[in-house]
Amino acid sequence: MKTEVRGNGGSISLQNPSLFNIPLDPITGALKGCLGSLDGACIEKLLLHCASALENNDVTLAQQVMWVLNNVASTVGDTNQRLTAWFLRALISRASRVCPTSMNFNGGSMFQRRLMTVTELVGYVDLIPWHRFGFCASNGAIFKAVEGYGKVHILDFSITQCMQWPTLIDALAKRPEGPPSLRITVPSCRPQVPPLLNVSKEEVGHRLANFAKFRDVPFEFHVKDDDPCLSNETFSTQFESLLTQLTRSQLDLRYDEALVINCQNWLRYLSDESKGNTTTVRDAFLDVIKGLNPRIIVVVDEDCDLSASSLSSRITTCFNYLWIPFDALETFLPKDSRQRLEYESDIGHKIENIVGFEGFQRTERLESGVKLSQRMNDAGFVSLPFCEDTINEVKSLLDEHASGWGMKREEDMLVLTWKGHNSVFATAWTELED
């Protein structure tokens, strides 16, 4: 039967309409059974083949591989199947961008676009110690750094919507010498990535303020707004504008305050590509905050190097890294757990950006802990070690989660590990005294 396309859709005769009555080909079941057992290495190879096929415009091969992958993929299957589902989705998204007009591949699954309540977000960040590890290490370092200060001002650059602060407020409240007065300032712009809240930053601030009051900690919350005209722009545009406003006066920094800069899963969204001779946004940001003379800067992010320009290397690295949270979730949550699916979907969002996009649209530019440390050193910061108290706290945090989670020290950096593999790093910095 011929399969030519008709330009204007003339009548198409179906020579064998009975074919369509076959609900399921005998192959299907076999496919399902067999492909589910393809191992990670095999899947990785398939993904790479698909990617290179797309890059070489080898359309047929790409489609065939996608077809195979599709039969492996399942968002409610085992770890490999789930990962495959999200990777495949990202590859399709990538393919669809070649022809933007004819396809409306709506980026972002329903899960990814969901808005959580604040309470749901609390549960979300504690599903696995992925975030809590960073919170605990950072808060420990901050607590130590502000010892003796009566006023603390935190500039909070993070995507987890202030989930980090209750435990710090709690710790400060219990200080023997009494709590300092605490100010937290957050930027109004935030990368358009999950987790998303259904309330404004101000509302979050209000609740925090309530809590601080309840614990008798003097508290203020500010949203550093930028130009309202930019409210529909991309995050990077908004941020570049914000950078110009991070000055002592505009932030209302006070001389007797201990200034803390908290960067949690943030730096990766700042562009590390330099256009011509200008500094990258990321480095510019570091310069700016250095100029504010902070007492301490804490940087937490995922320990994975995804800044490479080659698609294949990104796929490989990404696949060999993101199995970690998937594996962790698999250990603790059942296959149909909604929370698990939502969490994985958010990781899928990352995958889609890393694999599906290029250029300025590829906003996820993670760099590894080692590279980040190098960057900080180059910017004139010196690392601060985490004190024993903090380390013990992190240890006991991990003890409370089931086995598999561990922690190690790499020079002054703390790294969360899952079954021995690096997942999240936490570092603390201060200015190099001249």
Binding site: T3, G9, D58, N104, K419
Partner: protein
């Protein structure tokens, strides 16, 4: 001095052990410590694959003289003394010990592959027991089961010892989760608001801390929109015993930034889709998200019932399309089933209840993993019937080759949302190819969470018959990317190479001959390799 503490092997407080890959075994070394890429342990490491019996029997510390094994290093050292070694040899061997990593003997396990090896023998032993072993140890208090004794001990120590209860009723076993929850808990916030000011009528959308405030600064904050209630509550609730100048600053900051900020909180995607599914005010804590989905009818296997706002749009698309083709009666159920099965995860209505319950079970040291839940989630009624005897991966790829470019072409089409266009066009013989009849919602269903790609080749056949993609409206090629290339590159070579690289025998010739191009007969479709 690098130290690492890996819970996977130190649950009972043994000496710390190295984790996989990243640590140089020598404490002092002039060479910079090697950092390995995640997932790729030390390339020089020796990969050891032990059989289950050997694995469980092997000891980590082995005497180099007589090969006797010990669980602890101290015991090994004690033993070595008994060999009466000359002074020089009494010290630990200083030559670099080759790094070893271990794989799990269980073939289906993710740790069976070298790139996921664990660097520590004790770790892999425990993993093997936990994941693939029998859970012999049971907690008395909460009946959780463990395969590894040290896990069980660790759990028993903390089980039930600490419980933190929030006023809203949620219970936590970990303090930090409890504190964080408490800080943001709706119930607390409400109580606080009530306690502070005279009782005011609650604002709409039942969000906490809302009081209508006569003060001018806050009235210009907009009324809550459908999706995100603006939370500029009375300054009193946010007031803290701070110096007076700070307070007006706070409120003015908030009120002035309320409007523009709000929009940036919402995702930039087309809002109709989002709001459609989020229409019920999500402020109520655990039921928010579940509510929006459970409001839709439960997904049944019957195709006709809509299963959520988007699925129902889809159903109506099929239901309403008029057609003269004879296959209309058969088609809609297949597609709806398909898309529902694909869209299913988006609207899981039969999942575990209220998310706030889950953290509790997580907080306690658990390791039930997938064994307890193992089969529960697998049986989704939407999915294909139980898997049939497995085909090898290579045979499978061969099948893909036999299906030919066109099949996959069309299937992909299908999956990418164009299918709905073609499917409705299947029912209408005359159709403008250039037209897109698919509304964004449909595409998003397909592309929603699942991938929308059909799991079998046959439903792709229809598209096959219809011809190809409608991307470039006047394309007359089989090229789905609209690049004007027929079957780009050397498709045959590409796929064969792929198959070969994956491993296994392959009848390349057979694949090649059937691969020919657009023509094929029904024979090919049904052929099994």
């Amino acid at each position: 001095m690098p130290v690492d503490l890996d819970n996977s092997s130190t649950a009972s407080g043994e000496a710390s052990v190295t984790s996989s890959g990243n640590q140089n075994p020598l404490p002092k070394s002039t060479a910079k410590k090697k950092r390995n890429l995640p997932g790729m342990p030390d390339p020089d490491a020796e990969v050891i694959a032990l059989s289950p019996r050997t694995l469980l029997a092997t000891n980590r510390f082995v005497c180099e003289i007589c090969n006797k094994g010990f669980q602890r290093d101290q015991n090994l050292q004690l033993h070595r003394r008994g060999h009466n070694l000359p002074w020089k040899l009494r010290q630990r061997s200083s030559k670099e010990v080759k790094k070893r990593v271990y794989v799990c003997p269980e073939i289906t396990c993710v740790h069976h592959h070298p790139s996921r090896a664990l660097g520590d023998l004790t770790g892999i032993k425990k993993h093997f027991c936990r994941k693939h072993g029998e859970k012999k140890w049971k907690c008395d208090k909460c009946s959780k089961k463990y395969a590894v004794q040290s896990d069980w001990k660790a759990h028993s120590k903390i089980c039930g010892t600490r419980e933190y209860k929030c006023d809203c009723g949620t219970v936590f076993s970990r303090r930090d989760s409890f504190i964080t929850h408490r800080a943001f808990c709706d119930v607390l916030a409400e109580e606080r608001a009530k306690a502070q000011t005279q009782p005011q009528p609650q604002n709409q959308n039942q969000t906490a801390t809302k009081e209508s405030d006569p003060k001018p600064q806050t009235t210009d904050s907009s009324p809550p929109s459908a999706a995100a209630p603006v939370s500029v509550s009375a300054p009193e609730s946010g007031k803290v015993p701070a110096p007076a100048p700070a307070v007006p600053q706070l409120t003015s900051v908030i009120s002035s930034s309320a409007l523009p900020i709000q929009s940036s909180d919402l995702p930039e995607n087309p809002s109709p889709i989002m709001e459609e599914s989020l229409a019920p005010a999500p402020a109520a804590a655990p039921t928010g998200l579940n509510g929006s989905c459970s409001s839709s009818a439960s997904l049944g296997s019957n195709g006709s019932s809509g299963s959520g706002s988007r699925c129902s749009v889809f159903a109506s698309l099929f239901a309403s399309s008029t057609t003269s083709a004879s296959l209309k009666p058969q088609q809609p159920p297949v597609f709806i089933d398909l898309f529902q099965s694909v869209g299913q995860p988006d609207c899981l209505t039969d999942l575990a209840p209220s998310p706030s319950i889950e953290p509790i079970s997580l907080c306690l040291s658990t390791n039930h993993g997938s064994s307890i839940f193992g089969t529960a989630g697998q049986e989704h009624r939407q999915y294909a019937p139980p898997p049939q005897p497995a085909m090898s991966a290579t045979a499978l790829l061969q099948k893909a080759a036999q299906m030919g470019a066109t099949a996959t072409n069309a299937s992909l089409l299908h999956g990418l949302g164009i299918a709905s266009l073609s499917s409705s066009s299947a029912q209408q013989d005359n159709l403008q190819w250039g037209q897109r009849q698919v509304e964004p919602e449909n595409t998003s269903v397909v592309a929603g969470l699942g991938l929308g790609l059909p799991r079998d080749g046959s439903s792709g056949l229809k598209e096959l018959m219809m011809g190809t993609p409608v991307f470039g409206p006047k394309q007359a090629t089989l090229d789905f990317l609209g690049l004007g290339m027929a079957a780009g590159g050397s498709p045959n070579g590409g796929l064969s190479a792929l198959i070969t690289s994956i491993g296994g025998e392959l009848d390349v010739v057979a694949a090649a001959t059937s691969f020919g191009g657009g023509d094929f007969t029904s024979k090919d479709i049904g052929r099994s390799s």
